[in-house]
């Protein structure tokens, strides 16, 4: 583990920045929580392990001063996308890149241990050992990782100023990225409808997915809550829930960096990211565009070609 190196880098960059955004242990051993480090002593609290799932880059647009942030490969795509859209000043961010071999989905572990309180968690290469009152269990990280890790193309950050370990190459085939979307596409229209309706029916409209989304930059001005324009009502019908998720998905068209935060934070465990991934798949096909990989790119909905090679006129 490169925790020691991470701490060293933090102490090294701290004098140049207002704060370093990193992870520390949370309310129990299975949880980590962000920490905004402002002093060298705080740097000692830092942890880096497969529980560090949260995408800390999301905090960047709201920072007023120069900060440093620790990012995994997947998180770094957020920063690239921010750069594409001019949402951050790259000169005001020090990126501490962490090559990552896969993280843990807390929800999957909790389920596997029957939701017992966690007494201790330890890691060995590729596996995690969880101690609860009824005993110890060991899981391969590959078995309890979020789905994004199973097809990770960017284990090493795309942009960084410092790296905590040697870069890692992806060993996952590029086709695997949209395997889950393809699987749903293989079903019938009715099956997909039933699937999404039953999923979105669980939504409680807490907007955790929106607030956690690094690319949802409207935040407090979101049209899901405004009365003027009055896009959706406060009613709790399935149509309104669906509408909210369509607002989220459509506003992220060609912008979603697939960090999976929306799914990670959903308290009702709705696969919120599926719609956005589907759009991304189409963006790749239509415009050969992948969000968050090249700072020089422009999101496809911001631009156009007079002659679109892949868009054919639809016949009735």
């Amino acid at each position: 583990m490169s925790t020691q190196k991470l701490k060293e880098i933090i102490k090294q960059v701290l004098p140049d920045v207002e704060a370093v955004i990193c992870w520390q242990e949370g309310f129990d051993k299975l949880n980590v929580t962000p920490i905004f480090i402002t002093s060298p002593e705080q740097a000692e609290k830092v942890v880096w392990n497969p529980l560090c799932a949260q995408n800390l880059a999301s905090y960047l647009p709201s920072q007023k001063k120069k900060v440093a942030v620790a990012v995994k490969g997947c998180d770094s795509r957020t920063i690239v996308q921010y750069m594409q859209e001019g949402l951050i000043d790259r000169n005001n961010v020090v990126i501490i890149g962490i090559p990552c071999k896969g993280i843990i989905s807390k929800k999957k572990v909790q389920k596997a241990i029957g939701n017992e309180p966690v007494e201790d968690v330890s890691f060995t290469e590729g596996s995690v050992k969880v101690k609860t009152p009824s005993g110890e269990k060991t899981f391969a990280i590959a078995d309890v990782c979020p789905s994004k890790c199973t097809s990770c193309q960017y284990p090493t950050p795309i942009v960084y100023d410092q790296l905590t370990a040697d870069p890692i190459q992806s060993d996952k085939p590029a086709e695997s990225v949209y395997a889950d979307v393809a699987e749903l596409e293989g079903k019938t229209l009715e099956e997909r409808k039933a699937y999404f309706l039953s999923q979105f029916d669980k939504c409680i409209r807490c907007y955790a997915c929106r607030n956690a989304c690094p690319m949802c930059v409207c935040q407090d001005s979101c049209i899901a809550e405004t009365r003027d324009p009055h896009w959706i009502t406060q009613k709790l019908s399935l149509d309104e829930k669906l509408m909210f998720h369509m607002i989220h998905a459509l506003h992220l068209a060609g912008r979603c960096v697939e960090c999976g935060e929306c799914e990670r934070v959903c308290p009702m465990e709705i696969p919120v990211a599926k719609l956005k991934k589907k759009i991304n798949k189409e963006m790749k096909e239509l415009f050969d565009y992948i969000p968050g990989v090249n700072p020089e790119d422009k999101p496809p909905m911001y631009i156009f070609n007079v002659d679109e090679a892949k868009i054919k006129e639809h016949k009735l």
Partner: protein
């Protein structure tokens, strides 16, 4: 074909002010016979059509949505329909993923002079939506 006229469905049309609305007008002035299911909403440009207009319409009672603008390169505002084309194509591909038949949504280009084409578009699209029946079974 049934002898009895099928029940009218609700189809919403978002038409750009400069071309398609004129095309619909031309069709009307030319007395081209058209189905009556379409309710037209005039917008300044197809680029004004947020894909959410379509989604909202489909979720709140429309059985089909038609968007029509100026032909590519003919946009009154130069490039509004180029943006529209990308957005609407994205939506067209997303809707069936969600379980909404993409035949309920069509986008096309009709100029102010194309009254006959407009008649064709409306007739064909209405037929297509009727083949699917109402979207909201009550």
């Amino acid at each position: 074909m049934s002898e009895v006229a099928p029940k009218e469905l609700r189809i919403v049309g978002f038409l750009c002010n400069w071309c398609s609305y004129g095309g619909a007008d031309t069709a009307g002035v030319g007395r081209f016979r058209q189905p009556t299911d379409l309710r037209i909403i005039r917008v300044p440009c197809s680029g004004r059509v947020d894909p959410m207009f379509v989604v909202r319409a489909l979720l709140t009672g429309a059985d089909g949505v038609l968007v029509s603008g100026c032909h590519p390169r003919d946009c009154h505002y130069t490039d509004g329909n180029f943006y529209a084309r990308r957005r609407l194509e994205m939506l067209k591909r997303l809707l069936p993923f969600l379980g909404i038949d993409d035949k309920r949504f069509h986008y096309t280009w009709v100029s102010a002079s194309e009254g006959a084409k407009w008649q064709q578009v409306v007739t064909d699209f209405t037929k297509q939506v009727h083949a699917l029946g109402p979207m909201h079974q009550k």
